[in-house]
Symmetry: C2
Subunit: 395 residues, 2 copies
């Protein structure tokens, strides 16, 4: 895939302050905005609520539907460059923006390929990158046929709009098929299946790729999920250097394969024998890279801003031997106000990030805590001391 | 001086997101806002222009005169806590806010004492802290009398509203007196004189003091001024540990003496013989502490937010052996757009901060660059490589 066809020179100068439009107003947009402002940017967020986490700090939020081409055009007319914080934006609407001459990064073609898990995997496979075996399925019979080739268990997935385990259903045997097919809406939505790849660890790498194709690669981290939601990130992952080198290379090639511009999260599986496959690629800043705010010379957020504006990338080098990030997840439907913030702030070295969400819910990402340390164990202990103090609603 | 009389418990819970009001909308307010947002705050800025650096990221800027009591009250009614980014706010108007039950930190009494350089020095002297000899002067004859006691040269100063050397006039001899008296408006404004203290270096310490009186003290830094404007900050200062210990103690006692709450900048003079005096104390976050954003576990900005909200303070420990901050100053009247940002961003390890000001001018603070390093020399070299690329208007 080529670099964006209308790629302007990185030396291009913009309006000042540079007007960066972000489609989506969640915590990722919020952290992007916090990184963009010191670089002399003004951020304009498009979200369907005026109370979104990022709209709370953007002086000019646009309230509207980011799948509506007219609304997107309104945003583009007020911005020098458009980027996005989620991969579910209508790729055709983005393509229309590009055709009207508005710079959009990552571009519509990249987004179209990555937002569909089937075409994403096909693209990675065509580039010679290892992925679990997969196949589109249009009926339960086709799932059965896939099982004959891949064996049980199988992972049934919606091709679009899945995240944090939503849109996935693990089929342990043929007996689970009717429930899985119904749960994912197989009669309405396009589904795919993947072999259940026998991983022992999940790894991730943030890759920031410039418009020029140059990229910086952050350290390989280990991610630990709970209920399919990223819960702990350990940076760097405790893996042999040889595995880290392969994971880094895989991640860099994956983002190049989809023609990505900006910071991307590449999630990988590692088997007991040391084999690696790409699980998924997110065409945006990623939860597995929040640790970079404190732990790296240049965060995934700052580097995303630099990349989409065509500016030189910063260093992804860590400033401490180890860092751990813990997500602060809601447990019950409750107001968004944190309980226990004061004791959490008493924990020296814990960096508490709250997203300002007005309501909490089970599994909802309300904030995170990062700690640096001389070892992963000490960073984890510091982060845990703070994170365990904070809850949302009932303790 | 006592802690604020209506001091609420640090465990007090606020509206969520916590609404922090900042009087003044310049770069200090902007960096305060960038630190407050991740702690779950919403920032409301009061400034006389809707295009101020901080208003560009506050979702709810209030445009108005911060010396007008009615405007301040309007701000207070929308906020949980009020703080300020400059020391020139009308202390009586702040006192009225406090009397109406609005938490204001630092408080009106602290501000009243510190914004008048005469009462500030008297307060420090009464607390037993070393300051240059000083005296109020109501006529040129009183300056002559002071010269008889202190000797020439003398520094003539306006008691209020001076900063960055504005409001100061050095009198080398009696011959300079008519020009100095006229330049500072001695017939209209209250003036004071100080002995010209024979310093060889200027040091500064950021002190963050909590509502409880607890304080954290940042490392002693050396500040190098050009044309009375802070130009270079070296952290830590290359001084004997014994001098650093005395400077730290002096700074902590100074902020306690004025009953400060929040981050304060304490500027000191060091003589060749190792004597120390306090030059000036700023009741707000300070240019000499910008390096703390990258160089310390918890920045002066985050700690200010923690202090004024009654939350526990974070660690002021440096995360690298050395850090250097260079101000990016305007040189000519020109648009605010930086020239040379791209080559500056190419310098690995340089953290570029731009304030988003629409216009530049001679000596105007447009941004700054910070670099960390294993030594001051390497941090300085990195910061210089980036800073020398950037200019505003003509190079």
């Amino acid at each position: 895939m080529q670099t964006h066809p209308t790629d302007p020179s990185p030396a291009q100068t913009y309006h000042y302050p540079v007007r960066l439009g972000i489609i989506g107003g969640g915590q990722l947009a919020r952290m992007l905005a916090l990184a963009a402002l010191p670089l002399g940017c003004e951020v304009i967020v498009l979200e369907n609520s005026p109370l979104s986490p990022a709209a709370r700090l953007a002086p000019a939020a646009l309230v509207g539907d980011w799948n509506d081409p007219a609304t997107l055009l309104k945003l583009a007319e007020r911005c020098d460059v458009i980027t996005l914080e989620n991969e579910f934006v209508n790729a055709a609407a983005l393509a229309a923006l590009e055709q009207a001459g508005h710079p959009v990064y990552p571009g519509a073609a990249c987004l179209a390929v990555t937002q569909d898990k089937l075409t994403q995997k096909q693209t990675l496979q065509n580039a010679g990158l290892a992925v679990p075996r997969f196949r589109a399925v249009r009926s339960p019979a086709e799932v059965q046929a896939a099982a004959a080739d891949f064996g049980w268990p199988l992972v049934l997935k919606t091709r679009r709009n899945g995240y944090d385990g939503k849109g996935n259903f693990t089929l342990r045997s043929a007996a689970d098929l009717p429930a899985g097919w119904a749960a994912l809406g197989g009669d309405r939505l396009e589904l795919m299946v993947e072999e259940f790849w026998p991983f022992t660890r999940e790894l991730a790498v943030i890759v920031t790729r410039a418009r020029t194709g140059e990229a910086v690669l952050y350290p390989v981290v280990e991610t630990i999920q709970q209920n399919h939601v990223c819960h702990v990130v350990k940076a760097p992952a405790e893996i042999p250097p040889e595995v880290a080198a392969r994971a880094t290379e895989l991640a860099g090639r994956a983002v190049a394969a989809v023609g990505g511009v900006g910071s991307f999260g590449v999630e990988m599986f590692l088997s007991a024998a040391g084999a690696l496959v790409i699980n998924e690629l997110a065409p945006r800043v990623h939860n597995s890279g929040h640790y970079t705010i404190e732990a790296c010379v240049c965060s995934q957020f700052e580097n995303h801003v630099r990349a989409v504006l065509g500016w030189p990338l910063g260093s992804p080098t860590m400033v401490a031997p180890a860092a751990v990030m813990l997500n602060l997840l809601g447990t019950v439907a409750a107001p968004g106000q944190p309980v226990g913030l004061v004791p959490a702030l008493q924990q020296t070295g814990a960096h508490v990030h709250l997203y300002g969400k007005l309501t909490s819910g089970p599994g909802r990402k309300m904030g995170h805590v990062t700690a640096l340390g001389g070892t992963l164990a000490s960073a984890l202990a510091t982060a845990q001391r703070a994170a365990r103090e904070i809850s949302f609603g009932a303790k």
